[in-house]
């Protein structure tokens, strides 16, 4: 098999992972929210309702493809893909095991963040092309929010990058063999989870959707599988930021005290996934517990609190590392 074939297989595997992730995460979200809200969640389709999401996907696929008459046809058509494709691209540099990544880039982290920052472009396109005022407000909110929270997100990941001395996600994880970065980089971690929640439009920062204000914001006019793509992208973003958090702060595939254990190393992808899903669970828990912050407070919080703190943290850590650790 030639190299191109291998890459193609890897990419397809990642696409499959994305789709399966989407299906599993939607089911998980419903169950988690249901239990948090003293309900049962889906339990009718299949055992324990496991096939509920599959049924929904089938429903979305068979639905009529509606396009608002006054919509900007081309933009409207392409927007879900502009949301979906970057979200898929962001999967590529993720390292699931010691040598398990679609592609191992020296600047994998940069690539991932760059891909993530493309998503609001699609959201704004969707909001604008729908030619609905609610969608427009949602799209504009997404743009403002993304600009505001991209900065603290980037600054927060700088701490682990400095410690590992690399932007390659595998190298960052390998650098955490003995010490998870969450301990030295606790402040960066707090900033990261807040910024990541905001960056992926999760409650309490789901400004662009804002169910009770903008109905579903930018996705208002979408139906059928187009909406499915927007929805899927949302869940895959959730997975990405959680996986990134695990890679940067929680030692990726390493289990404490079993870093040399061959069994633990052979189970690396599984451990990585479990950690990621635990992160996702916390995000869902927040979604079930917290009210939504207001849009001006959200922006003020970023510009006035998160960015100064993360900037000063970067400076402090850089000085600390240069003057104390590396002599």
């Amino acid at each position: 098999m030639n190299a191109a074939g291998a890459v193609a297989i890897r990419i397809l595997a990642m696409l499959l992972l994305l789709l399966v992730n989407g299906v599993v995460l939607i089911y998980m979200l419903r169950k988690v929210l249901g239990r948090l809200h003293i309900r049962i969640g889906p339990n009718r389709v299949g055992p324990f309702g496991l096939l509920q999401t599959t049924a929904d996907v089938v429903k979305l696929l068979t639905k009529e493809d509606l396009m608002p008459e006054s919509a900007d046809k081309w933009l409207f058509w392409i927007a879900p893909f502009v949301v979906f494709v970057p979200s898929f691209l962001a999967y590529l540099p993720l390292a699931f095991g010691p040598d398990l990544a679609v592609t191992r880039l020296d600047t994998g982290l940069l690539f991932l963040l760059a891909a993530l920052s493309l998503i609001p472009l699609g959201v704004v396109m969707a909001g604008w092309a729908s030619n609905s005022k609610w969608s427009l407000v949602g799209g504009m909110r997404a743009a403002g929010q993304q600009i505001a929270y991209e900065v603290p997100l980037m600054l927060a990941v700088l701490g682990p990058v400095m410690m590992a001395g690399s932007m390659d996600l595998s190298r960052i994880i390998e650098a955490q063999k003995n010490l998870w970065f969450v301990f030295p980089q606790f402040i960066a971690f707090i900033i990261y989870i807040i910024a990541a929640q905001a960056d992926t439009q999760q409650t309490p920062f789901d400004m662009s959707e804002a169910e009770s204000e903008l109905i579903t914001g930018f996705a208002n006019e979408y139906g059928g599988m187009r909406f499915g793509f927007l929805f899927l992208a949302e869940f895959s973003n959730m997975f990405i930021v959680s996986a990134l958090g695990v890679s940067l702060f929680f030692g990726g595939w390493y289990v404490p005290f079993l870093t040399e254990n061959p069994v633990a190393l052979s189970l690396a992808p599984l451990i990585f996934m479990i950690k990621t899903y635990m992160g996702i669970f916390v995000m869902m828990w927040a979604r079930g517990s917290l009210p939504r912050i207001r849009v001006d407070q959200l922006l003020a919080f970023s510009w006035k609190a998160l960015i100064p703190i993360s900037l000063s943290w970067v400076v402090i850590w850089a000085c600390f590392q240069r003057l104390v650790l590396v002599r």
Binding site: G34, R35, H37, I38, I40, A286, G288, S289, L290
Partner: protein, 148 residues
């Protein structure tokens, strides 16, 4: 002075506590709750022990109903007693207020606990409670006694 953020964490604690309490869902078609005795659903006629309806066709329920969902077609027999041709009840328009049963002087109708009223056909929403029966009019009972 509370530290900013403790309330948020407390919220996490409360939702998790509610998770631990378990769901309160009643899985409807399999599980059913018992209705309290006073629950009011469809109007249903009552019968005597011998199977004759208690209704005397006094028409009070028809007059009492604010939504006019009850209609009695009554004809008079030669002997002066009443014969119910049809006692029609529009379930679809009924609001289950219970005024008819409260007004009935003969205790001939009651509000049953039949609450699964959804139907595929509009015709199901109109019911015939009684059809082609003689009334249990007090006068008839007296007449039969004198005959005997």
């Amino acid at each position: 002075m509370k530290i900013w953020g403790t309330g948020i964490l407390n919220g996490f604690r409360i939702t998790m506590r509610n998770w631990m309490r378990g769901p309160i869902t009643v899985q409807y078609p399999e599980q059913r709750l018992e209705l309290p005795e006073r629950a009011r659903w469809t109007v249903t006629p009552k019968y005597n022990e011998d199977g004759t309806p208690k209704c005397t066709a006094c028409l009070i329920c028809e007059k009492e109903c604010p939504d006019h969902v009850l209609r009695l077609d009554v004809s008079k027999l030669e002997d002066g007693t009443k014969h119910i041709d049809k006692y029609v009840y529009e379930v679809g328009a009924c609001m289950m207020c219970g005024l008819c049963t409260a007004a009935c002087p003969f205790d001939a109708i009651y509000m049953s606990h039949e609450y699964e009223l959804a139907s595929r056909y509009a015709s199901d929403l109109s019911r015939v409670l009684l059809e082609d029966v003689d009334t249990a009019s007090p006068r008839r009972a007296k007449k039969e006694e004198t005959d005997a």
